[in-house]
Amino acid sequence: MHQLLTAVSGPGFFASPQVHTAASIGAVVAIVSAVTGVFTVMRGQSFAGHALGDVSAAGGSGALLIGLTPLAGFVGAGIAGAGVMDMIGVQRLRGRDLATGIVLGAALGCSALFLYLGTTSGSATGATQQILFGSIFTTTPGTLTAVAILGALALASLAAIARPLLLATVSPDIAAARGAPVRLTGLLFMLALAVSVALSALAIGALLSTALLIGPPAAALRLAKTVPGALVTACLTGVAATWLGILLAYDSYYWGPGHHSLPVSFFIVAIIFATYLAADLLAARGARRRAATPVTGEADQDKVTA
């Protein structure tokens, strides 16, 4: 058994404390992202989910300049960005993407300035790359606690607004007619999304943050027939992709003669992308088969994603 594990994982994989931290922080972030992501994908707010990662990263580099902790910068800028997006975004899908774009553009401009000032004062080497991609292997156990606590907070607030949020997502008109606070749930959702994305961007980088937020939920929504089913599938897919990606990245050091390991984000994203493509093909085939048979299927996944 031990030999088998060693053969699969390369020497020292399970003993490495870095791997432990990366695996646990990856799992926590994958679960928080998957749950938030199911709502994000259903609401068609993938752009906001991606943009908030960059916005919070701008806050992170700004915080470093004025001597605050990166966590404060990430979460603060994420929440502020989400607030502005919600404020200037009209309720239409199209206007929302535009509002997201405006906020993102301004944040990236500030990022350029902060990184420039950071490098001229001689502190931030490789900061650009860190901001772009991030790294799961450099996180400390201290980050894990902060991520777990704030992640739980985001999940709790999502759970509290889940019912009106779902109704407002699937049918805003019915929700409004029933007197559900559509605007308020939308804003609360944006704030929960901001906290979740800021945390994952800090812990695992903006690139993986978007991948875990959108990929597993999108794949799950193609396959699952109910929202709880999609939530569970998304969590499992996200955690599995993260762990498998860490394993492969660790292994890749032993591939080939050069002893270059490939970045963990590359493997995780590749697995997630392949999973989405597979789920997409499966769902399309299922839809064709249902269309070929005379019996009409009632509640397929199109209802969920519509």
Partner: protein
């Protein structure tokens, strides 16, 4: 401020602003802000790949931006557009991360590829930029009618035999072309600001397409020129000025729109003709 290498900066910036203003008008009209962000940012990975292979950056950018446009267009045909855009973007960036892990000589260039190095444009770079820019403007001019129709009233466009899918792919390819020429100059992240802010601002001022497009180009030009001047003066990165000025122009547009609506009473018909209910399902 207007001598020597600065002449090149002013010339390229002007070309970039005109292209961004024209293409950006349709980006905003089609609600394609996310692809307009994803294609340049993902194309950056192509530059990293080109550096690894030792070929021209421009080729790497062209290949990756075209691949990105095609992936978003074809996969988005069946799945959710925004989801597909996000996944295509992260996949391209992940490839970029893999490329970068294989090379060490590239790192100092990342910042300039992301945030632009307009002040360091050489004379030999201007010609390809001008050619690609002319191609973008030409394609947009030819596509003007079908693009406008399918962006505002897709049903009527389909009835006239304009295939929404083909228009979408063609448009994304135009964005990819614009990306290839502008990324080495303005950076992957800030061409996006120019494609969103000025056109969105222009559309708050007028609902007539041709006028809005002209205004969009004008605002983009003012933004870029002011950014170059400020960057030269204060020695801060040009990206900061482009990003914030573009957002500022949008803010002014929104403010002006709000002021006009309150002056016109309850804003009857001020909002309706500009944006018909054509949200993608």
């Amino acid at each position: 401020m207007f001598s020597g290498f600065m002449t090149n900066a002013w010339a390229t910036a002007t070309i970039v602003a005109v292209v961004a203003g024209v293409v950006g008008y349709f980006v905003v009209l089609r609600g394609a802000a996310f692809p307009a962000h994803a294609i340049p940012k993902g194309a950056f990975a192509g530059a990293a790949g080109a550096a690894l292979l030792g070929i021209s950056t421009l080729i790497g950018l062209a290949v990756f931006s075209l691949l990105g446009a095609l992936a978003i267009g074809t996969l988005g045909r069946r799945g959710r557009n925004d989801v597909v855009t996000a996944l295509t973007l992260v996949m391209m960036l992940a490839l970029g991360a893999a490329f970068l892990s294989r090379t060490t000589q590239y790192e100092p260039e990342i910042y300039s590829l992301l945030f632009g190095q307009i002040l360091g444009v050489s004379t030999t770079q201007i010609l390809p930029i001008a050619a690609l820019g002319a191609a973008c403007i030409g394609a947009t001019t030819i596509l003007y009618r079908p693009l406008t129709l399918s962006s505002t009233v897709p049903e009527i466009a389909e009835a006239n035999g304009i295939r929404g899918y083909r228009i979408e792919i063609t448009f994304l390819i135009v964005v990819a072309l614009a990306t290839t020429m502008t990324v080495p100059v303005t950076g992957a992240l800030l061409i996006f600001s120019l494609m969103i802010g000025p056109p969105a601002a222009a559309r708050s001022f007028t609902s007539r397409p041709a006028l809005a497009m002209a205004l969009s180009v004008a605002i983009a030009l003012v933004t870029v020129w002011a950014a170059i001047a400020a960057s030269y003066q204060y020695n801060w990165p040009i990206g900061f000025f482009v990003g914030t000025l573009a957002a500022l122009s949008y803010g002014i547009g929104r403010g002006w729109g709000a002021w006009r609506r309150t002056r016109n009473g309850s804003g009857q018909a001020a909002e309706l003709p500009r944006q018909p209910a054509t949200d993608r399902a």
